[in-house]
């Protein structure tokens, strides 16, 4: 079924994440990436259907059928990997500050577009 509300929410989250990725402050870039990956996860779970029991235990004969276990398994992996990359990005930010005394990407590499 068409998820209009979720589409709007995900669109907003993605837009905000994109806006943050384009900021000059490296910490905000990391936030942006975090928001984008959160919304991607939510999108995947949405694709598995919201109505339905958790795919645990005995669910024979139940209506509606349980939610899609496959996307949940995918997202579980994604959450953990996302944690790893966020942690690494944060520590890199910290290192950048230690090395260069700034976390302003304009000072670090110019303004770009």
């Amino acid at each position: 079924m068409t998820q209009w509300l979720l589409a709007a929410v995900l669109g907003l989250l993605f837009a905000l994440g994109t806006f943050l990725v384009l900021r000059r402050d490296v910490v905000r870039v990391v936030w942006g990436v975090a928001i984008i990956s959160q919304s991607a996860n939510v999108y995947l779970v949405t694709m598995g259907g919201l109505a339905g029991a958790a795919p645990i235990g005995d669910f024979r004969g139940e209506t509606p059928p349980p939610t899609d276990p496959l996307v949940q398994a995918l997202v579980l992996t994604a959450i953990v990997i996302g944690f790893g990359t966020t942690a690494l990005a944060l520590v890199l930010t910290y290192r950048v500050y230690e090395e260069h005394g700034t976390i302003d990407v304009y000072d670090l590499g110019g303004e770009g577009l």
């Binding site: 979720l6 907003l12 943050l20 384009l22 936030w31 928001i35 919304s39 949405t46 790893g84």
Partner: protein, 838 residues
Amino acid sequence: MIEIVLAVVFLPFVGAALAPAVYRLLGERTAYYAAGVAAVCLALVTRLYTAGVGLDGGTRYAVDWVPALEVSLALYVDGLALLIAFLASGVGVLVLVYSGGYMHGEPGQSKYYATMLAFMGSMLGVALAGDLFALFTFWELTSLSSFLLIGHYTSADDSQYAARKSMLITVAGGLFMLAGFLLLAWAGGTTLIAGGDDSLVATAGPTIETLRSVGLFVPALLLVGVGAATKSAQVPFHVWLPNAMEAPTPVSAFLHSATMVKAGVYLIGRFRPFFLGAEGGGAHGGGAAGSRGSGAAAGTGGEGAAGEAAGEAAAAAASLLPEWSVVFVTLGLATMTVAAVLAVAATDIKELLAYSTASHLGLITAGFGAANALGAETGAFHILNHASFKAALFLVAGIVAHEAGTRRIENLRGLRHDLPVTAVIAALASLSMAGIPPFNGFYSKELLFEATYELGHELGGTAWLFPVVAVVGSVFTFLYSIKFLSLFLGDRPDGLGHVHRPPVSMLAPPAVLGIVVLAVSAVPNTAIDLLVGSVYDSTVPGAAHGFSIPFPPSKLKPAVIMSAITIGVGAVAWPQYDRLHHGIRRVLAGPVRANWWYDNGVDGLTSGGRDVGEWVQTGLVRTYAAWTIGATSLLALGGYVVGEVGLPALSVPPGMTPAIVLVLLVAVVGAVAVTAAPSHVAGVLTLSILGFMVAIFYILADAPDLALTQLVVETLVLVLFLLVLNRLPAYYGQPSPGRALRDGALATLAGATVFLTVVLSTSATPSEPLSGVLVERANLPPGEHASVFTNYGGGSNVVNVILVDLRAADTLGEISVVAMAALAVLTLIRMRTRGDTR
């Protein structure tokens, strides 16, 4: 016999692999070891020949190579293959013996002999390949070994430039050829080249029909043609050959006159029956095959009637000039003439010979290009003749350079006083090159004249240019040949220092080649009967016939008149040689030279590539993100527009409870707050609100595993952020309004794309989702279904079983990623405190 054929191809590679070890034992005498390997190959080829393999129609041998892809290592032996194999192994023996004298005291000898042997193996592979991919592989191997040999003097810039140039041009041409091969393999449904009923040549008719029906016949012809033209140094790709003379002279004699550059004309000869075969078998010019057949049959009779018979039959069928001839006769004659003119302008004896080589390869190309029997005779015979006299001349040039210490034409004269034997060989070979009767070069040139005259006679109009250009090119050929000969005539100039006598190892090989020139000159028809006749058979479609050379000509044919004109004009123009030489040099400047295009092209590509790289790779996250997100959004939106997707009706989906709506709204508020956060701490806390709302969303969406993971991860991330932010400066001001507007626009674009994508993708529900299988199989008692999850997975939580059982390896990878990240974090922090950095 298959063992012999395989041994011929692979023995040189084994020899090459052992060469460095042998060099440690034997030192400079490795030359004779290498020559021995070549001699064994020559003996094996001779064994094939005496056994009569391939002389009456080709014989194919196949060994499975990549059976899954139906690629076999097919080897094919016929007249053409035997001729090239004889050249590669025979000239190989001579050149390697010669190297023993020439390379005395030179650097890098073990590499030199190993590469020479590897080259010889590659060339034998090209000659005997019966499969498109085998041919391509060996073809590129010859380019590679040529690169190594041209760049033999690794410290000389000229040598490096020349090696790169030859590599770029020949390898690029090889890639064109590969594209052509793929077209042929697709159309023919086979990669076998010739022989049997299932090869490309045997099925030329239907294959060409297929190609023509999709308009790919001419592209395929041109692609294969580019491969041949780059390898055989045809105009405008001839530029690499003169530079290749930076290689040691034996290399020039071997690769760049007798063998490797012959690969291109070999390719033309090999595919000639295929591309011309279609003319008879296909819809085009049904009469052409008949005319060629009768022409060839008349050729068997010899006695000068061949020309007329072929001419009449061809005139009867003078429907159209096949594309094959348009491409290759034009290419060949242009090369023959341009390169001959450039040879007259040469100042260095090896440069002269290089241009002359290109010119003679043009002659062979033009011969094969002519779609009549005479053309094939020209090509077949001149491959042998050119190899004999040109390899001899290169070896002579090597003796001159080695013993007189200079290669400049203006400094060399009267060498016959110091090098009497060499002078005799040079005289034989250069008279043959000039096309003076009764030497062998004359016979094949005469055949070319006849072939081009036939074309002119048959087609009329502009086709008469063919014989005219052939004569003009031959006049220049005559001139530079006599110039080379004149190095040995006249008086010794004062500037020429003491000239040593060459050692026997350097004198014997050119002498052997000189004897070959003499032998073929004396009894051309015997040479044809022995081998050249079956070479001719390999290059014509349909049934096999022999041919013969009538000499002296029984009557005054047009070709005889053309030869007379050539020699007459050449003799008249000879006194003006210096004026011609300087005149041509004056004209050669700027864009007239193909080199100008090559150098500017390569420089332009190099600097252009650097500029594009600097422009695209700015190293700024901002730029990358903007381009990636913008391009992805536009492509996705464009896809929706093109696909004309319609929006579904507005509805409330099942499962969308008020609780979920509330949670999602709070999540959005959190995200807005993150974006607007005045400080890092405020941002992190609001980011956490978003994260915990997502966790609650997972609970409400019946995904308890995700919710648990998300809660743990969110907590950890919050702690981590707070730890790090404690040490970072607070932030830095607002973006300028213009920039905020631009970023806002891009963000809106991305958001709109995601909105549309989610709407469209959630409205389409697959009828049988993959998850249905998993759900169906889960938690069923044994007997009803194979209960994968409970029995083998050991759990009833499907998500868990997927992660730890069905995709266990994937999960292991995931854990490794986290471990890597942890290690990287640890290293990044510890490295600083240890003070390892600047």
